[in-house]
Symmetry: C3
Subunit: 292 residues, 3 copies
């Protein structure tokens, strides 16, 4: 895709979410459910959180997209997550996986090994999580390469090989969040910048981003859904800084800005760096502009 | 009751909640617990959320009112909800039921069928949920009438028959939330308008409304409790719009306004439409003013 | 310790938390997790909430401090809490206990009796909870003295004997929250004032305080950690009042202020009442200034 095509697709996804109000139900951690739901509503989607295996499976069958965030895993997740993911996979519904907490317990490992078969449409995580998942699913060489252990301080770039490997395996997209965001569908790699340091000073910005990716996945391809969510987050985040007096007012302004963004505004931001965009494109790395 | 009597009762309930600080414990969904609790505190009540069957039963026995919101049902709800509701019923304590998610799973259906025996003092839901509950409890003719299936887009008016049937069965009140709010005790039907579209752009306004109804149910009749909660929500919501730049700042201003309302302010709003109020009263339908 | 030493230690703990970003994972109630996590982040710490027994135990072993708040106990807490607390105790990691809900169920009583062996480094609660815990652990005479039953309206001063008894038993610190805050390590008793009435109008300020104590416990002694957390809460709370229009905007301003505090500002507040500080010190009771 050319940069113009990507920008056009992002604008379309942005508008479709506002028009269609897609429901993107979640199994997501209890800490940040409020933030996830309000972010999904702010971009035009609809939210529903639940825990029971049968109703997660049933709503996964009904809704156009689904979000699984493993944050605060509870005992019954052993049955709930695989059933919901299987339902999505069998019906070719897009679903987003945030493997937060990977490696913390045998239950998580067991669940994540099962989820491999149900190929998440989008995988979102920080660099360490993405590397850990690629290793767990035996998609990268665990004895060599750049990857040594899982560090939460791992830089986004360190997860490039893992992200591409995961995307090639699933046929979907992978988003690595950090100071810069790396998004790939296994072929193209797009780097997004922008946002705000305040994202690291509030809890749940990554969770909310995953939830919003699920909203866009209901109306766009995996790559475009991941790019659109990342772009609106970075843009709303950088705009929110102006009025923020600290992390709590940043969060309020961020959600307000997320709600008030326009498709035009998002597109214009991209036009500003067209040249950089195109020149880097030849190397398979596209730098999205800093949304100042 | 005349409109003057209703207004007087609402003012009394409003003040009593501030004076008595009634505890209205909740079994409520994990997504919106923070919002429910803060709304309960803002109107003068006290909040406590819990999950364990024995302590839900025990606190239901101690507290003057109780709130059950079925949002994010967990496996242990099968025991927790019936025990808490039974305790309320046996001790004639008011309790509020929000049957959100009705029909989503066998567990919910099983629990809701059990709850029928414990006649919730106030039932609050959207039109679809109220219709679904009336059907589940075999209180309306499922083969005929205006009701065909359960649509979340069902208009409030479509739930009128179901709401009245439920209220007649329980001997309490039923509140149907939507663009307008319909509140009935099975005899009178009161329509409330006002509020803000932002209520649909933030998660949990319905849950918070139910929690606040439980606070007022500790100090007023079911009908007056439902009316008072609906009125303060609509008034605080419409006032919050002025300073809101989006859904997140709306929520902050809404809770601040909820905290700062006065009984006089609430009463005055009603006086403004006295004539409409009385003329419609003859038809059993009372339109409360738009709290602009 | 002299007042100058205490002030110096508080400033050091304040700065160390910002520099080291200590992770203080929590098992904490679902109502206020967002508030707890955001407060921990605001003072420079890192947050993680979880429920599963094995991963709570594992992260307790890895992290420099841990927070246990019993608020919304769930069935699996029976295994989770003792395992996490035991891990902390065996590795001499500081952990903070908030025994909220003490006495509400057999499960809680059973868990709290087990936790006695793992001597929490800091215990934080309101007066009633502290008295109840001292009784449950047989540290005070339940038939005599000032203590008769557990009232949630109990004044902080009523919990003095219990707090000292608990601190002597654990070898750590105990913080009794209320209009004034009493903090003791079993030898010295320090009274802190300040804050805002709004703390009682929002849900979770006590929970967030406990979570922040855990952050400071990773970098300071139990007494200093409890004092530092209490002081920054009172100072940020009293500063937030100026711009608050109600409880919701108070909470936003409180977290913003918590984030923006400086070590100097905290120290200067103490200098202002040095004389009072020193004169009362002889009686073992130190009054910290009202952070107006």
């Amino acid at each position: 895709m050319t940069d113009t095509e990507i920008r056009s697709e992002i604008a379309r996804a942005f508008d479709e979410a506002r028009t269609q109000n897609p429901l993107a139900p979640s199994i997501t951690n209890t800490v940040t459910q409020d933030f996830v739901a309000n972010a999904q509503l702010a971009v035009g989607g609809a939210a529903a959180m639940m825990y029971l295996p049968d109703e997660c499976e049933d709503i996964a069958k009904l809704a156009p997209a689904f979000y699984v965030n493993m944050g605060t895993a509870m005992p019954f997740y052993a049955e709930t997550l695989p059933r919901a993911a299987k339902a999505c996979h069998e019906l070719q519904k897009p679903w987003v996986l945030d493997p937060v907490g990977i490696g913390m317990s045998e239950l998580r490992t067991k669940i994540l090994l099962q989820l491999k078969d149900f190929k998440p449409t989008i995988i979102r995580g920080n660099a360490s999580e993405i590397i850990a998942l690629a290793k767990l699913w035996s998609l990268i060489d665990t004895d060599g390469g750049q990857v040594r252990g899982v560090e939460s301080t791992e830089k986004v770039s360190a997860a490039k090989v893992s992200a591409v490997a995961l995307a090639k395996f699933t046929g979907g997209a992978v988003a690595v969040s950090g100071e810069e965001d790396l998004i790939t569908d296994g072929e193209e790699i797009v780097m997004c910048t922008g946002g705000s340091d305040f994202f690291t000073k509030i809890t749940g910005s990554g969770c909310a981003l995953g939830g919003v990716m699920a909203v866009y996945a209901a109306v766009a391809s995996p790559l475009i859904a991941a790019l659109t969510a990342t772009t609106v987050f970075n843009l709303a985040g950088s705009k929110a800084v102006a009025d923020a007096h600290g992390p709590a007012s940043f969060k309020v302004h961020f959600l307000d800005n997320l709600y008030n963004l326009t498709a035009t505004e998002v597109s214009e931001k991209f036009r500003a760096v067209e040249s950089l965009f195109e020149s880097m494109f030849n190397f398979g790395v596209v730098a999205f502009p800093h949304a100042d």
